[in-house]
Symmetry: C2
Subunit: 274 residues, 2 copies
Amino acid sequence: MPLTTASVRLHPRLGDPAGNLAASVAAIEAAGEAGARLIVLPELCTSGYCFADDAEADAACQPIPGPATEAWTALARRFDAVIVAGLAERDADGGGRRNSAVAVGPDGVLAVYRKVHLWGRECEWFAPGDETPPVVVTPVGRIGIGVCYDLWFPEFWRSLADHGAEVLAFPSNLTDAPPIATADHVYTAVARTAAHLTRVPVVVADRCGSERGTTWVGLALIVDGEGGVIGRPARDDDSPETVLATLPDPAPRTTDLSPWNDVVGDRRPDVLGG
Amino acid sequence: MPLTTASVRLHPRLGDPAGNLAASVAAIEAAGEAGARLIVLPELCTSGYCFADDAEADAACQPIPGPATEAWTALARRFDAVIVAGLAERDADGGGRRNSAVAVGPDGVLAVYRKVHLWGRECEWFAPGDETPPVVVTPVGRIGIGVCYDLWFPEFWRSLADHGAEVLAFPSNLTDAPPIATADHVYTAVARTAAHLTRVPVVVADRCGSERGTTWVGLALIVDGEGGVIGRPARDDDSPETVLATLPDPAPRTTDLSPWNDVVGDRRPDVLGG
């Protein structure tokens, strides 16, 4: 069944968890009212990013389940939707702070993913994940989850696709580049390539704004399973925006590229390893 | 040292090897006179592509060294350049016909690469290669070589980059899409991503024209090591064109992306295998 999908660009504020959660709730409500049943929010969307010290990083974290996932569950129930969002997690199982993403459905948290490839100073604030990234069975399909820099690793996309993901959702905080709603940014090329080479749609939800000298790209992108961009921001500025697009019926994944070619079956581990 | 590079778009004609070789010679002469020292030509540029039967495929093949590589060697000597080009090879070591690419320098053939990932009906005409793709030490740097569909396999780019390639050259015949000199085609995204994720420049030289119902994209593309397009066709039509761009000094390859990140060192085989 076609899947109306939202990529939500938000502007989290350091030290304002209540305001950030309220902004996420308002954006999810608007997306749900517009018919979205898969709603993807940025990485660390409840906390902001550029922590000054351990105390700030600690204050940014919350347990899962916790306040954010409870609010999102209520919205998932109201709109019969699935929400994928990033947040700073206080890991009750040990491991301290995590840069996590959750999939939340009408009945609560479906999965927690802890970011495997940490970017920049994240390694000072978060312990890296060390589990295979999840493909989550949800009411809207099998959703593969990664966070931001994970997208730089083709083996990450392939793991999700080869484990049956029908959509890849990447909450992100894409730093260190000029804002690009409409420009032909290389990050767009990377997301399109992940989709084209796996034959699975990719949704990237980046934040906007700046903090302590760091600026984000603001990439809200929905890419179909051939690598075509079907949703991107209408405005080429640095403000929050929700991008909506309808993904075609995702199942079954087809990796045939021609009557003679299959982009999975054509791999040559005998020559190239892996 | 900065490297002036040419990606040559040609229109080979089935059954006209002499005309095709002459067209390649004219294009190389023009690129050499314009200062190019790395000149990349399309896949199967001496033969055309859509063979009707074994007899046509046999007639398309030539040995290496042979007429084409001898002509190209003379030009490489004249311009102190390196030429990377695709041709149908009659494999003297056995294996019959090969879809090959050569690197030719002033002293002759430096390497022969036999395409590992065959596309479409190529499997009916050619035996696949089964050797690790070559990184060729040349007077203009270490050149990694692949052909067309090889670009769809990230482990292929990585093999070349991890073995020290400073430029990746992909003679190509990119089929089954509308012509695109200037449009934002997903094939451009794939080439940019290969460069961005390896931090090595990528040169794609595609053919143009059509044969027996098959049309090529005509993608002549030069991408720097960050994934930025620095050369693409000026004309959005279906005619031969040579694209020139100067790659910055390629050495040393830098895979650091931030003070905390290395796109090679950050791989997590413990989590994702490979």
